[in-house]
């Protein structure tokens, strides 16, 4: 089992979500987050005062996958979230020890 965490542009969420559902991803957790990588922030003005905002709004997806789906999911995200510009985001993969369904205490890949 692998946990896939992807930070993407908020505007790409719908496309990414649809592509993931299409390849058979059953569930996901979506978070509104703020952060920055190499992308620079922007400036805002309030009554003439300039504020630099370095932390930009992003969307973070958390999905736990059976290993055979991982490559397909990574490809689906890259295909839909990529614009080629700085700020497209990143994907992180981690091995997961266990998954447990709270409703019936099922464990392992069937719990995903």
């Amino acid at each position: 089992m692998t946990k896939l965490e992807a930070v993407i542009q908020p505007s790409k969420l719908e496309a990414v979500k649809e592509a993931l559902i299409e390849i058979g991803v059953d569930g996901m957790t979506v978070l509104e987050v703020r952060g920055h990588g190499r992308q620079k922030g922007h400036t805002e003005f309030y009554r003439g005062r300039e504020y630099t905002v370095d932390l930009l709004p992003k969307i973070k997806l958390e999905i736990v996958l059976n290993d055979e789906l991982v490559d397909k999911a990574v490809q689906a995200i890259i295909r839909t979230a990529q614009t080629g510009k700085i700020g497209d985001g990143k994907i992180f993969l981690t091995k997961i020890d266990e998954a447990i369904r709270i409703r019936n205490e099922e464990r392992g890949s069937s719990a995903i």
Binding site: E44, F45, Y46, R47, G48, R49, Y51, T52
Partner: protein, 466 residues
């Protein structure tokens, strides 16, 4: 045909002569009754408008100003900021009934009212003719109360996010008695030094409170900002408004409420009220445009916060002028005020490095001052024939009409408001500082005033609140 005409003529003759006889006997009675009905009709119309106006002016403080200021602070201080406006609605009302109204509008000296109306003695449904001859004095009293509420509430913008609630309450009660009451009496009270309508020695034109409300509160705000010092982290830490959306709603409520503030200051549902209403609206629109334009040039983009700040600046500047100027003069006053206040807020504040958190001085002090002076230029007797000679002939009002002295009088009115505000505020601040202390501790300030002063939060996030 001829005969029929003759009879008709005869009939008419009889009617006319008999009604003339009847009129001779019943005329005085009937006329007296008619006069009574006319007075009653005018009184109901005026009273209806003035009660609506009173409610509109209260709407300016809560929710108007509370939302406007509440949106401009950081999340952790939203309730503490809103409660400062709300507290004035409660505290000043009680104070007004006990002594405030009497000090402002009782007949006293040139500087302060007497005590004949304490506990609202003698303030009933009979009109007080020297103020407003067609409405109950109680209506006049409650209308003026709404002004006394919003004025101290305006100051809270300067010390937002760092003043103790207790110190704020005591400070503003004393301020209301020591600064507001004398200024209101001088400008609007019977025998007041600056009263243009009731024979003041230095007749100053202030239709709805440019000096009484905005100069006093704005200048006191500056003194507070300087005395209290900067917020922890200002100016190197960013402190952007937490919700321009709330501020937008608040500013639009202020705009609407201001119709009660300015048009209501005609104290009747009259043509003058219409004139003030129109001037108010035009100035607000013009100032919203000129602030936005200045900002567009300066920062490259027009903003929502800039637009609403400009509108408020225009409303402030037209306040003293509303019942004296034409709609086109109101446009000019608005244009000047919007750009001027932008300059004060974006440039002067940054240069002088004081922390007037929500720009109470930059908008109300600066806008009120420029508005009071421009009133002296643009006031015209065609809108409001306020000055007359001893035989009742109308005299010119403002400089452009030929009354050059008026600009000088306006400057004196403004100067008195500045001096009273500076001295009064400093004395009260010293007093409160020495007794209960003005600022919250640094830890409390960092944690936020909502939690440390009031034990609650504006935006709960615990799962129990979902």
């Amino acid at each position: 045909m001829r005969r029929r005409g003759f009879f008709a003529f005869l009939l008419l003759g009889i009617c006319v002569s008999s009604s003339a006889i009847w009129a001779q006997t019943a005329a005085p009675d009937r006329i007296a009754r008619l006069e009574q009905q006319v007075t009653a009709a005018q009184s109901s119309a005026d009273n209806a408008w003035m009660l609506v106006s009173s409610a509109l002016v209260l709407l300016m403080t809560g929710p108007g100003l509370a939302l406007f200021y509440g949106g401009l602070v950081r999340k952790k201080n939203v309730l503490a900021t809103m409660i400062q406006s709300f507290a004035m609605m409660a505290i000043i009302t009680v104070l007004w009934g006990v002594v405030g109204y009497s000090l402002c509008f009782g007949s006293g000296t040139s500087f302060i009212g007497g005590l004949e109306h304490i506990f609202l003695r003698g303030v009933g449904s009979a009109p007080e003719a020297s103020y407003a001859a067609t409405i109950p004095q109680q209506t006049f009293m409650v209308y003026q109360l709404m002004f006394a509420i919003i004025t101290p509430a305006l100051i809270t913008g300067a010390f937002a996010e760092r003043m103790k609630f207790s110190a704020m309450a005591v400070f503003l009660v004393l301020w209301s008695l020591i600064v507001y009451a004398p200024m209101a009496h001088m400008v609007w009270g019977k025998g007041g030094l600056l009263n243009a309508a009731l024979g003041g020695r230095i007749p100053t034109l202030d239709f709805a409170g440019g000096t009484v409300v905005h100069v006093t509160s704005g200048v006191s705000a500056l003194v507070c900002a300087l005395y209290l010092g900067k917020r922890v982290g200002y100016p190197h830490e960013p402190m952007p408004p937490h919700s321009v959306v709330l501020s937008f709603i608040g500013a639009c409520l202020l705009w609407v409420g201001w119709f009660g503030f300015n048009a209501g200051s005609a104290l009747a549902a009259s043509g003058l009220a219409t004139s003030a209403f129109v001037a108010t609206h035009f100035a607000a629109a013009a100032a919203a445009l000129s602030w936005s334009a200045a900002e567009w040039v300066h920062n490259g983009k027009p903003s929502m916060l800039g637009g609403i700040s400009g509108a408020v600046a225009g409303l402030v500047a037209i306040t003293p002028a509303a019942g004296f100027v034409t709609p086109m003069a109101a446009l000019i006053i608005g244009f000047i005020a919007g750009a001027f206040c932008f300059f004060m807020v974006a440039k002067v504040k940054a240069r002088l490095k004081y922390d007037d958190s929500l720009d109470a001085f930059g908008v109300h002090g600066a806008g009120g001052t420029i508005g009071a002076l421009l009133t002296g230029l643009f006031a015209t007797s065609a809108v409001n024939p306020i000055f007359r000679d001893s035989s009742g002939n109308v005299l010119p009002s403002g400089v452009f009409e030929g009354n050059f002295r008026q600009l000088f009088n306006q400057a004196i009115g403004v100067a008195i408001a500045w001096v009273l505000a500076i001295v009064g505020t400093l004395v009260i601040l010293k007093l409160v500082d020495a007794t209960i202390g003005l600022r919250v501790s640094e830890e409390q300030e960092i944690q936020g005033l909502d939690l440390t002063q009031h034990g609650e939060e504006g935006y709960a996030w615990e799962s129990s609140a979902i």
